[in-house]
């Protein structure tokens, strides 16, 4: 299969914000998993800090590009479906744009953008599936936008006994705000139960 570059989400403002947050969060001994690595730019940047980086990508063009051009260890898969290990840091630049069914373009790039009618469809699934894959000290950096509804995302985290904090944000020219949430287990709530 030849790589079709028009089917790949290349680094944009959201990518750079997640890279910045990831670089201040990652430690040299961290086992890192990036979900939806796209071109592999975020995984490549954290690879400069820890050698233990695995990426999952559903799009064949992006997976091949991340592997061959950016040297990322990548498997093709859907979110955590093919993963059974635990990680210290999980990174996800989520598809966060609210997208109605009639707006959908049925191509591979859609997977990088389409968050379903609420913008939270994939984010919600990700947060529900993440906890078993977090080590005790595991944390998640999740990139979403003001369009995704940040209060709703924080509520989803609460239902999974996760604590979420905004660790980076950036306003776009059109008024949209990009956020990086740092999500970790609510260890206090575990003590109470």
């Amino acid at each position: 299969m030849d790589i079709d570059r028009t089917q790949i989400y290349f680094p944009s403002d959201d990518t750079y914000l997640l890279i910045k947050a990831a670089r201040s969060e990652v430690k040299p001994a961290d086992r890192v998993l990036e979900i939806g690595t796209g071109s592999g730019a975020v995984a490549k940047s954290v690879s400069e800090v820890t050698p233990d980086v695995l990426a999952v990508e559903i799009n064949p063009h992006a997976a091949k590009y991340a592997h061959e051009v950016n040297g990322i260890e990548v498997i093709r898969g859907d979110l955590f479906d093919p993963i059974c290990g635990e990680f210290d840091l999980v990174l996800f630049n989520a598809p966060y744009l609210p997208t109605d069914p009639e707006e959908r373009i049925d191509d591979w790039l859609e997977y990088a953008l389409d968050g379903g009618p609420t913008g939270r469809e994939v984010v919600e699934r990700f947060i529900h599936e993440a906890p078993p894959h977090l080590s005790t000290v595991g944390r998640i950096l999740l990139l979403i936008s003001s369009l995704t509804g940040i209060d709703d995302v924080l509520k989803i985290c609460q239902t999974e006994a996760l604590i979420a904090l905004v660790v980076a944000e950036e306003k776009q020219e059109d008024g949209e705000i990009l956020y990086v949430l740092r999500i970790s287990r609510d260890l206090c709530s575990l003590c109470k139960t």
């Binding site: 695995l54 559903i58 064949p60 997976a63 091949k64 592997h67 061959e68 260890e73 990548v74 498997i75 093709r76 898969g77 859907d78 479906d81 093919p82 993963i83 059974c84 290990g85």
Partner: protein, 59 residues
Amino acid sequence: MKRRILDIICCPVCKGKFMLTEMEGNDTEIMEGLLTCTACKRVYPISSGIANLLPEDQR
């Protein structure tokens, strides 16, 4: 696909562990091969160093 990740990946359908059939590779990496789920027997290809762990109807 690096050999060391065999322990942290699983069948996306039943979460079973994999048995590796290697066709091409070196000390650290598998370039071509098959991953067979030891539980449900589904088979997933490794091609050009990338394991495709999507269910067959989503590839």
